[in-house]
Symmetry: C2
Subunit: 176 residues, 2 copies
Amino acid sequence: MPKQRIAIDMDEVMADSIARFQEWYGRDFQVELTLETLRGKSPYEAVAPEHQPSLRAYPNAEGFFRDLPVIQDSQRVIEELNRKYEVFIATAAMEFPNSFLDKYQWLQRHFPFLHWRNFVFCGDKSIINADYLIDDNAYNFDGFRGVGLLFDAPHNAHETGCRRVHSWQEVADILL
Amino acid sequence: MPKQRIAIDMDEVMADSIARFQEWYGRDFQVELTLETLRGKSPYEAVAPEHQPSLRAYPNAEGFFRDLPVIQDSQRVIEELNRKYEVFIATAAMEFPNSFLDKYQWLQRHFPFLHWRNFVFCGDKSIINADYLIDDNAYNFDGFRGVGLLFDAPHNAHETGCRRVHSWQEVADILL
């Protein structure tokens, strides 16, 4: 029997891009962007209107996706998942073309057990053919043919109507 | 009823990468790489063994995928397909990380009617969820859930067992 297939999003699921928003926002405006402020909001919605253009430019800037911290337990659990399932990494990189190489190199560095054949840089994730999708954006489950697992993140705090997982350990408990 | 979805490969289907192999090979070895020589073979298999390492390095080199000629009629037919279907571009870019930006910019330049949401850079195309896949490599139809159309190219001349299309006009005749 063929293995089931899991597609996994990168930002806020494997890579802590909020940490980069916090770092750069603090650097540019000397204001702390707290996780409490980010609850139920995108980073853009969480800051003063006059700061929004700067924040919107961050993900397009050179180096935004470089050396992002790894989300806790993701390496250990994804390595275990990779033995039992076919694991694909599906990231909406097309929105930020400057991110391509950084994302590719980040995956090779922190998840060396994954093959590049299983990396997918896309826009609309309805193109993904998999049995599970682990993602922090519920809209990515629209039109997805498999089971969506919403990975808990500050911005999706008020999202209801899909199954939420709070940690990689919880993903392991469900899928392993 | 939702539109059916067509996934389309880039190299040798939309973009003439053989032209670049011919150009660079002629430049480096003063030998013409003819389409007849390439029949049933990859470019690597078509040249003298001592030239193979150079040829294998070409697709990883800066600029290989930049400004590739557009395959005849692909713009006109894909624009028409894009009205009737959801069109996604699915290219195995992961093999050549230096190609990411060149491929992205080539698509934006030559196919401006396509949105980046519909670009997919992947490795293994079995991840693609679509009704049709137009591709010059028959192995990409393995595990594909839809209908594969093999786009005629010198290297696939001896491929049997899948439906072959010889031109974009023939694709139009079938799908429009």
